[in-house]
Symmetry: C2
Subunit: 339 residues, 2 copies
C-alpha cells in the first residue's frame, strides 16, 4: 500500500562498517557476549554512540522468536474496564512489575469480536505471554486461547477451557463471608445482596460466600439482585430490592463502585445509612473512603494482584516450572461508617 519510507535509522551493518568489524561482532557487543576483545568492544561502542544505533525490535523478534512483550487482554467494554478502580489497580500492579523488567505491555481491549482479534493477535507472535483481565465465562477467548503461549488470569477463569489455567485471585468467597458475618454481628437480619455478573467467578464467589455466612446463622437472603458491576446496574437493583422488600436492613454490594451508587440512591430514597440500612461493599476502592457515608468494605489487594500476575507471566516465559497454578490472596474487612 504505502511506499516503504526509508527509516533512516542506522543498522547493525552500518555500525559494523563504521567500526571496521563484522556484523557478528557488533551483535556480540550489543548483546554483551564476553567473547569479544576489550579494545574492539570499545571501538564498537564508540561507533554505536556516534551513530546513535538502537537495535530494531522487529528484526530481533523475528529471529529470536521472542518479543519481550506481554499482552494485557481485556475482553470487556472500555468504559466498564476503565471506570472500575479494581481493574485499573490491577493494571497498575502489572505495570509496576514490568517496569522492573525490560518487557513492554501491550494493551488489547476487545469487546467487539474478541474471539478473532484476540486469538489472531496471540497467534501472531507479537507477545511472549498474555494476562487476561475481566473475562467472562462465555468468552470464547478463554477456551480458544492457545495453550502454547503462557497465559495468566486475573481472577479464576470460569467456564470451559478454564481447567488447569494459571490464575491469581482474591479470596472472594471468604471476603463476602466476612461481609455477611459483619452485617449479622451488627444485628441485621433482613439481608440482601447486589451481585456482579454470575458468569464471572468474582460475581459467583461473592454471592456464595455471602449466602454461606447467612446460612451459618440459619438465615436466607431476603433479596438477591444480579447485575453487572456498574453503578447504573446497582441503582436499578436497589429499586427492585426496595420495591419488594421495603424493610431491608442490611445490604452487601459486590463492588464498591456499585456500593457507593447504592448508598447515594438509598439516601435519596429516604433511607438512613447505616441506621435504616447497613451497607458493605467490596474492594476498598478509593471511592469507599471518600463517599458521603464512608463505606465499610472488604479490602482486596488489587495492585499486589497485578504485580503477581506480571511476575507469574514473566516466570512462565522463563520456563519456570514451579509457577503456582492457583494463588488466592486474602481479604480484610475495613470497618467504616456505613455499618
Amino acid at each position: 500500500m504505502s511506499a516503504r519510507p526509508p527509516l533512516g535509522r542506522p543498522t547493525l551493518e552500518m555500525v559494523a562498517k563504521e567500526a571496521g568489524v563484522s556484523r557478528a561482532t557488533v551483535s556480540r557487543v550489543v548483546n554483551g557476549q564476553p567473547t569479544v576483545n576489550e579494545d574492539m568492544a570499545a571501538v564498537v561502542h564508540a561507533a554505536i554512540e556516534r551513530l546513535q544505533y538502537v537495535p530494531n525490535r522487529a528484526a530481533r523478534t523475528l529471529v529470536n522468536r521472542t518479543s519481550n512483550a506481554i499482552a494485557l487482554i481485556v475482553p470487556e467494554e472500555t468504559t466498564r474496564f476503565f471506570q472500575n478502580p479494581f481493574f485499573v489497580a490491577v493494571v497498575e500492579g502489572i505495570t509496576a512489575r514490568l517496569e522492573q523488567s525490560d518487557f513492554i505491555l501491550n494493551l488489547l481491549v476487545a469487546s467487539s469480536d474478541p474471539r478473532a482479534k484476540i486469538t489472531r493477535f496471540l497467534a501472531s507472535g507479537a507477545v511472549d505471554a498474555a494476562i487476561f483481565v475481566a473475562h467472562h465465562a462465555g468468552d470464547a477467548s478463554i477456551t480458544d486461547v492457545d495453550r502454547r503461549i503462557p497465559t495468566v488470569f486475573a481472577g479464576r477463569p470460569a467456564g470451559e477451557g478454564a481447567e488447569g489455567r494459571v490464575y491469581i485471585d482474591t479470596d472472594n468467597a471468604d471476603g463476602a463471608h466476612r461481609a455477611g458475618q459483619h452485617l449479622i454481628q451488627r444485628g441485621r437480619r433482613r439481608l440482601a445482596t447486589i451481585t456482579g455478573p454470575l458468569d464471572m467467578a468474582a460475581g459467583q464467589d461473592r454471592l456464595n460466600g455471602f449466602v454461606r455466612a447467612l446460612a451459618e446463622h440459619e438465615l436466607e437472603p431476603v433479596g438477591v439482585e444480579v447485575t453487572d458491576f456498574t453503578p447504573r446496574g446497582a441503582v436499578r437493583a436497589c429499586e427492585r430490592l426496595l420495591a419488594r422488600t421495603p424493610d431491608l436492613d442490611g445490604l452487601f454490594v459486590a463492588s464498591d463502585l456499585m456500593a457507593v451508587a447504592a448508598l447515594t440512591w438509598l439516601r435519596s430514597a429516604g433511607r438512613d445509612v447505616p441506621a435504616d440500612v447497613a451497607v458493605v461493599g467490596f474492594g476498598d476502592d478509593p471511592a469507599a473512603s471518600i463517599a458521603e457515608v464512608p463505606l465499610t468494605t472488604v479490602r482486596q489487594p488489587s495492585i499486589e494482584m497485578g504485580r503477581l500476575l506480571a511476575d507469574a507471566a514473566l516466570r512462565l516465559i522463563d520456563g519456570d516450572a514451579d509457577v503456582a497454578p492457583v494463588t488466592v490472596l486474602p481479604t480484610e474487612l475495613i470497618r467504616r461508617s456505613s455499618t
Copy 2:
C-alpha cells in the same frame, strides 16, 4: 541465551505448499490484493483455514517498516498515573478509538530513567507513533523525542523541545477562570488556590486562569500552595494555607482528586463546606459527585481528549498533513454543593 523454541506455527511458505501456489500468491490473498484469480484465492483461503495460519507480526513489521502499534508514553510514577482518574480517562479514550482501528496500544510507564528507556523504545521501530501523557517540563523525553516519529501530547508540552508539537489540551486557563469567577460570584473574597506542579502546563495554566479571574475584580489570592496533584500533597497544602490564612473563605483546587482530599481535611479541621469555605475542584472526576459534599468543579472532556489524541496519531501515521497542531477543548463549570 535461550534456545530458539520452534514456534510450530504455520508460515506463508507452508500455506503456499498446502495450496500448491507460490508464497507471493498467498501473500496477495492475505492482503486482499485484487489481482488474484477467484478460484485460486478460494484454494488459498481453504489452506489458510486448514492450517490456522496467522501472519507473523514481526516479519511484517520488519519488511513493511510499520508496526501497527502506537505507544502510550507515561514519564510518571505508576501510582500517580493510575490513581489519577483524569489520566485513566484519557487512556480510556485512546483505547476506545484504537479499538476501531487495527492498531495495538503499547503502554510504556517509565518513571525511572525515562530518557533512555523511552527514546530507545521509540527508536527501535516498535511503534508507528507515540502519545505522551503526564509529561513534565523537565522531562528529557520531550526534548529528545525523535521528530521522525509522529508524536502527540496530552496537554500542552512545556519546556524545551515543545515548540511545534501537536497537542490536545483542555482549556485549563479558561476553566480555572470560571472557577475563580464562580467563587467571587458566591460572595467569597479571601480566595486561595492549591495548584498542580508548575512544570506541567496544566498546573501553570490553572493557576494563571484563577489569578486572572481575581485580578478582574481587583483581588489577589490570599494564598497559593504549589503541590503535586496528589491527595497527600493537597492535605499538606491545606494545613499550610489555614495556618497562614485562617479566615480563608474560598478555595480553588486544581484537581478533583486533591479537592476531595482537601474537603475531607477541611471538615475534619472543623470548617464547614461551603458555609465557611467554598471549594471548587477541577476535572469532574467520578469522585466529585460522590464526595461527602458533592463537589463543584470544572468539567473537562477527558475521554474525548483521549479519542482525539489517538485520532491525531492515526492521522499523522497516515501522512495526513492537516492535523491541527493545537486543539483546545472547552470546559464547563458543574455546580454542586461545595460552593
